[in-house]
């Protein structure tokens, strides 16, 4: 089948557009999360999104409308637990993540009717994305990328040296909340692209790939976005041609890019 022909399908076009925006948003945030040793927050929030989507399905509501605010609240809860309860960040992620999964499982058990729908979110399918989901993904991803651009220097400074950033008047508590809320939104959007099980890969892999080869921070952000974008576009094409699951194909391509970047760094 010719590539041009594939690109003419509207579901492929929707997947390309939505996937590209979500991938760039993921990679951009991923750089900050990896450098702050917060990579697993994506994993934890994706588990919360499982519970939130279950809640939406349980009440017959559009799952994303429930998941975006609930996962954003959960991200703030993670920060507050680690701050106020003197619990390490990874343990706080574990607590909130477990509550999300447990809630989802209980709701699935109570409903007995939407298990098939719920479990389709576990592995995602960007090729089945609806027009309204694609529009929502593009708008929210654009907002995420714009907010990061607006607060670029604050995020950079607070990530490099939080204490020093405070001495320059940067409100680092606000920046930390902003970063986790943006991550929460992006995680929910990514569920449709790669599924709950693989969301953290979309945040972490392009970022660590870019960090292997970047010689300054701005380049790391650009390269991270580029690797993510290429992985999503090629992943969609390969998955269609080879009849493979799109999310898993995208993640495997990201992993291949990481391996190549690692080898490149070793030989240069």
């Amino acid at each position: 089948m010719e590539l041009i022909q594939i690109l003419q399908y509207s579901f492929i076009q929707k997947a390309f557009i939505a996937g590209s925006f979500v991938a760039i948003a993921c990679a951009t945030l991923g750089i900050f999360l990896v450098l702050r040793k917060m990579s697993l927050i994506g994993d934890g929030l994706s588990h919360v999104s499982f519970g939130a989507i279950a809640l939406g399905l349980f009440f017959g509501l559009y799952p994303f409308y429930i998941a975006v605010p609930l996962v954003a609240l959960a991200s703030i809860l993670i920060l507050k637990i680690s701050e106020k309860a003197r619990v390490y960040g990874d343990a706080a992620i574990g607590i909130v993540s477990a509550i999300g999964i447990a809630g989802g499982v209980i709701l699935a058990s109570l409903s007995r009717g939407f298990n098939v729908d719920l479990f389709s979110y576990l592995f995602g399918n960007i090729l089945a994305i609806s027009t309204s989901e694609a529009v929502l993904s593009v708008i929210l991803s654009f907002i995420v990328i714009s907010v990061v651009a607006f607060f670029y220097w604050d995020l950079f400074s607070a990530t490099f040296d939080e204490e020093y950033a405070k001495t320059t008047g940067i409100k680092t508590n606000f920046i930390n909340i902003l970063l986790t809320v943006l991550t929460a939104i992006t995680v929910v959007l990514s569920v449709r692209v790669v599924g709950i099980m693989l969301v953290s890969a979309l945040l972490i892999l392009p970022a660590v790939t870019a960090l292997q080869v970047s010689k300054n921070f701005r380049t790391a952000l650009v390269l991270g976005g580029l690797f993510a974008l290429i992985s999503v576009l090629l992943g969609i094409i390969f998955s269609y041609i080879l009849d493979l699951p799109a999310g898993a194909t995208i993640v495997m391509l990201n992993a291949i890019f990481f391996a190549l970047a690692f080898l490149y760094k070793k030989v240069t």
Binding site: L35, F156, K166, L211
Partner: protein, 251 residues
């Protein structure tokens, strides 16, 4: 003389532990203050409270005539922290980018480092002798080179007060001499107020005009020559007056 940092009855606690108790002193513009005391005596706590990183439990700090809790002109205060060794080895920031972080306090959002700013950064890096490192990753530099980069970050906003926490520990003897000569020049020529936390009382004796000696409480604040009478060497004074301070003789 203008008082630019006034510490009034300051007490700071970490939970139930008292780190500073009822400290009062007044630092004038152009002072070079050696902040000394034993480990755990509250030197870094005092510096962090001046910098707004910690809040007082009692008392207050007045910076440039404003209560520190309402102070916002942070570009007037440069800070060289102690723990530059904790730089994340994965962080892909180059020297130019790190120095530019020192300009952020004076910027309004969306913050932007302008062409003029980059020219200023280039000039400062040349002045400090690390211009050739501008595009190098900060994590690839030696401890001494990183310290020079952090000094450039502290100086780029042309601060009126420079707070330095054990700044010379990573430097070799030659770089240490250059470093203190630079501080002396800043202090003498453009009247930058220097607050230097150190255990090296030799350097305090050589460069500082005032001594702020704390051990949770204020032990001494005033001119060095009031602490060391009869022209005595400062390290000898510490040895006699309080042998629990860790001191080094500067050769």
């Amino acid at each position: 003389m203008n008082s630019i940092t006034e510490i009034k009855n300051l007490s700071v606690k970490y939970g139930a532990t008292v780190a500073l108790e009822n400290i009062s002193c007044q630092i004038e513009q152009g002072d070079f203050v050696g902040l000394v005391g034993p480990n755990g005596g509250g030197k870094t706590t005092l510096a962090k409270t001046i910098l707004g990183l910690l809040s007082p439990n009692q008392g207050k700090i007045i910076l440039f005539g404003k209560d520190s809790t309402k102070f916002s002109d942070w570009q007037k205060i440069g800070y060289l922290p102690q723990k530059h060794t904790s730089i994340n080895p994965l962080f892909p920031a180059n020297v130019g980018e790190v120095v530019s972080l020192g300009l952020l306090s004076a910027k309004k959002r969306p913050k932007k480092i302008s062409t003029t700013d980059w020219k200023e950064i280039d000039l400062l890096l040349k002045d400090i002798g690390i211009f050739d490192l501008k595009n190098k990753l900060i994590s690839e530099l030696s401890g001494g080179q990183q310290q020079k980069v952090m000094l450039a970050r502290a100086l780029i906003s042309k601060p009126k007060i420079l707070v330095l926490d054990e700044p010379s520990t990573a430097l070799d003897p030659k770089s240490r001499e250059d470093f203190f000569a630079r501080l002396e020049k800043l202090n003498k020529e453009i009247k930058t107020t220097i607050i230097l936390i150190t255990h090296d009382t030799g350097y305090v004796g050589k460069y500082a005009n005032k001594l702020l000696y704390i051990d949770r409480k204020l032990v001494f604040f005033g001119n060095i020559n009031e602490f060391c009478q009869n022209g005595e060497n400062i390290s000898s004074c510490f040895e006699k007056k309080d042998n629990h301070i860790i001191w080094h003789q500067h050769n």
